[in-house]
Every structure is written in C-alpha cells, then in structure tokens.
C-alpha cells in the first residue's frame, strides 16, 4: 500500500496540467477505475499532507501508473518540479471506484480534469467491448485532455468549451440538454462540483437513476480515519456524512446532497 516509486515520465499536457508516470507494479495490478493515490509532494514537513490524485490509467504489463493533475497550489507545484528518476512516496490504490459492468451502453460525462479517473474507466469499458459515449467539457480546447487517445479508442466523442474553441459553445451539461442524453445503462461523471450538481439535476429530470459520480474533497489521511473529507449523502435514516476517501470517491449521483 505504501511504496517508494520512481518517476518514469513527467510531461506538461496543457497549460498548468501535467501527466506523471510512475513505475509501481503492485499498484498497476491492483488499481481499479475511480481509485486514487495519496502522494507526498515533498520530503519536508511543509507542505505537510499528502495530495490525492485519481489514477488516470495503468499499464499492467509494464507496471506503470499514470496520474493527471493541474498545478493549483504549493503541493502540486512541487510535484511538477520533481525530476525524472527521482523517488516518490505513494500510498494506494485507495477508495471505492466505479462499478464496471461486463456489457451494456455507457455514457461518460467529464469536466476538465475530471477526465483523469474517467479515462481509466473508458479504457476498461472499451476493453470489454462496450459502446461508450463520452461528453467532455472544458474552458477551452487546450484544456480538453487525452482527446487523441479517446478518439483512438473509438468512443463516440462530443466536446463542449466555454469559448466555443472546440465543439459546442457552452457547458457539457448544456450540450447534453441540447443534443439529448444518449441511451445508457449507466452514466458516469467527474468534474467540478457545479457541473456535477447541474448534471445531477438534468439526470433527475430525465428520470435516469443509474449514475455514478466521482467526488473530490480536501483529504488528510486517505484511510477513512480522520473524517476530514466529509460529503453529505442521503441514507435511509436521512442525510449523513460519508467519507470521500473511504466510502467513495465514487458515489451514486442520486444519493449526494448538493450544497
């Protein structure tokens, strides 16, 4: 679960966005789509806490694990500065990922960096021979990540950008509303909270119930011990707090209480 691993490649994939590849054969074997790693971004006590990153794909044969991240603060800035060949302390794979049915038609809705966990899922769904429609939105076309790879996997891809530089001009949820929600056995989504909230609303209107969303929250422990990453969820007895790290990060869309 806790490994000192080697950085194999680190590449800038968009403005402020990086793809990090590490050699971690145990993680590559064990990881499931939707799971994440807690990474120490420095060896000092400042910044102190590990940072959670979704696993964006694995290469089991070569023992590689990739994560996709954006520089948002000190921790991610330090990570972006880590050199190839250097060691990185990781903890994972952690959390409860997406359910991956063996057959069916699926809809994947991604916003920005939300593509990170969904890419791994799409790969898995396609490897099982399923039909997958991907709706992907971002600020502009440069922030749509992994497009070539998605096209190569022959998913049905529709894009949306805030400035219209790729595909539909507007949000990905507006695109779904305009174009119509393709028939799907399960809808999967990850992205910024406003997008997920809007999508949850759209799915509710359309009476689509089988939907799984990957959520994010600040985390400290990653094991479920500290109760720091609370998310409000509807339980039979009423709303309760669950832990994004241990009870999620993937939750049923209809049970999440949107603040």
């Amino acid at each position: 679960m806790i490994y000192e691993v080697e950085i194999v490649t680190q590449r800038k994939v968009a403005s402020g966005c990086y793809r990090l590849e590490i050699y971690a054969p145990e993680v590559a074997q064990a990881a499931q789509p939707g799971q994440f790693l807690m990474v120490r971004t420095s060896i000092s006590l400042d910044p102190l806490l590990r940072r959670p990153f979704s696993i964006s794909t694995v290469d089991r044969e070569r023992g590689l694990v990739k994560i996709l991240y954006r520089v948002v603060g000190r921790g991610t800035a330090l990570l972006a500065g880590r050199k190839l060949g250097r060691r990185l302390n990781i903890f994972g794979p952690l959390g409860k990922g997406f359910t991956v049915p063996h057959s069916g038609r699926f809809l994947v809705v991604a916003g920005g960096l939300g593509m990170a966990p969904l890419y791994f899922l799409v790969q898995r769904l396609k490897a099982l021979g399923n039909e997958v429609a991907v709706f992907y939105g971002a600020q502009n076309r440069y922030k749509l990540l992994l497009l070539e790879e998605l096209v190569a996997m022959r998913v049905e891809l529709s894009t949306a950008t805030d400035n219209g530089s790729s595909g539909f001009k507007g949000t990905v949820v507006e695109l779904l509303r305009t174009k119509g929600i393709p028939p799907a056995d399960v809808v999967y989504a990850a992205g910024p909270p406003p997008m997920l909230k809007a999508l949850a609303g759209l799915l509710r209107e359309a009476e689509i119930r089988r939907a799984e969303f990957s959520l994010e929250e600040r985390m400290a422990c990653g094991t479920g011990a500290c109760r720091g990453c609370a998310v409000r969820v509807l339980a039979p007895e009423g709303p309760v707090y669950k832990r994004v790290c241990a009870d999620g990060p993937v939750f049923k869309a209809e049970e999440v209480v949107w603040e």
Binding site: L48, R50, R218, T223
Partner: protein, 306 residues
C-alpha cells in the same frame, strides 16, 4: 544491549511509549491493514460521545504552514457502536486501548466512561479541550469547576482505570485547569489538544472551514506542546502523554525529557500511515546509540533535578 522501552503510565503498562493521538487514528481499525497495532504502546481512540454525532459541515480540513486546521466536530457513531463493533476487533489484534470520552454534560462523560470501562478498555482519556464543538469540549476545559466535575464523573465511573485529562493551552490558565482535574482524581494529563486557528479563502472572501474556526495541529505546534508538557510536569509530577507535531524518532525523546511518559503521534499518521510503529521501532536503535539502558531514565530529565 537492547534498551528497555516499557513504561508505566499511571499503572498502565505500555510495551513502548508510543501511542496514537485521539482523532488522528480513527478507531484503529482503519490502520490495521497497514501496521501491527500491537507494535505500539496503545491506540488512543477518536473521541466518543453517548449518542452518534454527525460532525461539522465541510470543508473540515485545510493545510497551513507545517500543519493543518481541522474542524471535524467530534463525528462518531456513539459509544454503543464503538463498544460493539470496534473493541472486540482491537483486542483480537493485540492492541492496548485508551478510550477518549467526550460529552455535553458531566453526566455524559461519566456514562460514556462507564460503558468503556465495562467493555474492558485499558485507560480513559477525557477530552475537555476540543475547540470544534459548541457544547462540551472546551466549555469544560476552560472553566476549572466544570473541568473538575467532568473529571470527577469519569473517575467515579472508570472502575480504577487510569484517567488522563486532555488539556489545551488556550481558553484558560492551563495550570489552573490542571490543578482542578488533579484534585478531582486525574491520574495524569494528555498535552496538548489542537490550538484554535482560522484560514481565509481570499477569493471567496470567507473562512476556508465550514465551521469557520478549527484546531491547529502538526509540527507547527510542537514547541507549544513541549512548553505545556514542561510546565505541567514541573508543577504536578503526574504522568503525561505528550502530543503535538511528533513526526520523527528524535521528536519523541524531546517530549520525554520534558516530562512525558508516553508520546502520541497525531497528524504524523496522515503523512506516513505507519509512522507510530516506525517511531516505536526506531526508538530502540536511537536509545541504544545514546547508551540509554532504560527509557525511564529520560522522563523529565531535562528539568535537571532528581
């Protein structure tokens, strides 16, 4: 020769002086897949109240320079669930268990203690210094009479178990509160709880935490914790569990030299999930290198008396 690491914490025999800090190690079972819970002196549980508590609205945590703020708000499933679902498993795993009790009234502190004592825990920690709840917590720790009453209730319900009262350093004169709880029968002290703190999100023009304020922990508070251990040990010579920013093998003896009999790893568990066990293991080597035959020689030794 292997140094002796065993310590006697107010009658509670610990195989080594490393324990976990309440709230940072869940109920122990979260860490069972990662480390041998029997390798450390004891597991100190997250604070438990009589009935389940949902805790505070998110965001509940944020990082600060060499530390973090938390405002969990004593989320816990209630004493009945912990006694039923957690304690048997911890015993099976060979862990010594110190239960941390909290409540909104002195009676509640007593009742939670009674149930833990009946279930066979090894010691009680009294959390009268949680900064993140409106009632209970600091409301007891800041008023000597209230602190005394809660401690007396716990003492009367603990069935002879050692009772450690966890104090903070803000809200009241620490030594005055320590005196009050010592008079009420505390066996010793846990020092220190988190310090009150606040972080601001400039873009949103609001505090970061959902509950506005939080408790500061981590290496940032270590000097404050050492100071508190020093002061309380000097005044009372009662057993102390030292807590605050312990992240390495060298941090532990610093607290012990100031007067701690045991030291608790807290926020450090988040950095390295096996840190408590690694410090316990490393301590043996570190003492051998310094030709210390028995760790008890170090307790309070920095005071230079005796």
């Amino acid at each position: 020769m292997k140094p002796v690491l065993e310590v006697d914490l107010a009658g509670l025999k610990l195989k080594n002086p490393i324990v976990t800090a309440s709230g940072t190690f869940g109920f122990g079972l979260e860490y069972a897949p990662l480390m041998d819970l029997g390798a450390i002196g004891a597991v100190v549980l997250k604070s438990v109240t009589l009935r389940p508590r949902q805790g505070n609205p998110p965001p509940r945590i944020t990082e600060t320079p060499a530390g973090m703020l938390n405002s969990i708000g004593l989320e816990n499933p209630g004493v009945e669930a912990v006694v039923r679902d957690v304690l048997p498993e911890l015993k099976r795993l060979g862990a010594k268990v110190i239960a941390s009790v909290a409540g909104e009234t002195a009676e509640e502190y007593g009742e939670v203690t009674r149930r833990f004592a009946a279930a066979g825990v090894d010691g009680i920690e009294v959390n009268i210094s949680c900064p993140n709840v409106a009632r209970g917590g600091l409301a007891f720790g800041a008023v000597p009479e209230a602190a005394k009453e809660a401690t007396a209730r716990v003492r009367a319900s603990a069935g002879g178990l050692p009772v450690f009262v966890k104090l903070g350093v803000t809200g009241a004169d620490m030594l005055e509160i320590a005196r009050a709880v010592a008079e009420a029968g505390a066996s010793g002290f846990s020092l220190i709880n988190t310090l009150p703190g606040l972080a601001v999100d400039v873009r949103r023009r609001r505090p970061v935490l959902g509950n506005v304020t939080g408790g500061l922990s981590g290496p940032a508070i270590k000097p404050v914790a050492l100071w508190a251990v020093w002061q309380v040990y000097k005044a009372f010579r009662l057993p102390v569990i030292g807590i605050g920013g312990i992240t390495s093998v060298t941090d532990a003896p610093e607290f012990i030299l100031c007067g701690a009999t045991a030291v608790a790893v807290g926020t450090g568990n988040f950095i390295h999930p096996r840190l408590a066990a690694e410090i316990a293991g490393g301590l043996e080597k570190a003492l051998a290198a310094e030709n210390v035959a028995d760790i008890k020689e170090l307790i309070g030794a920095a005071h230079g008396e005796k």
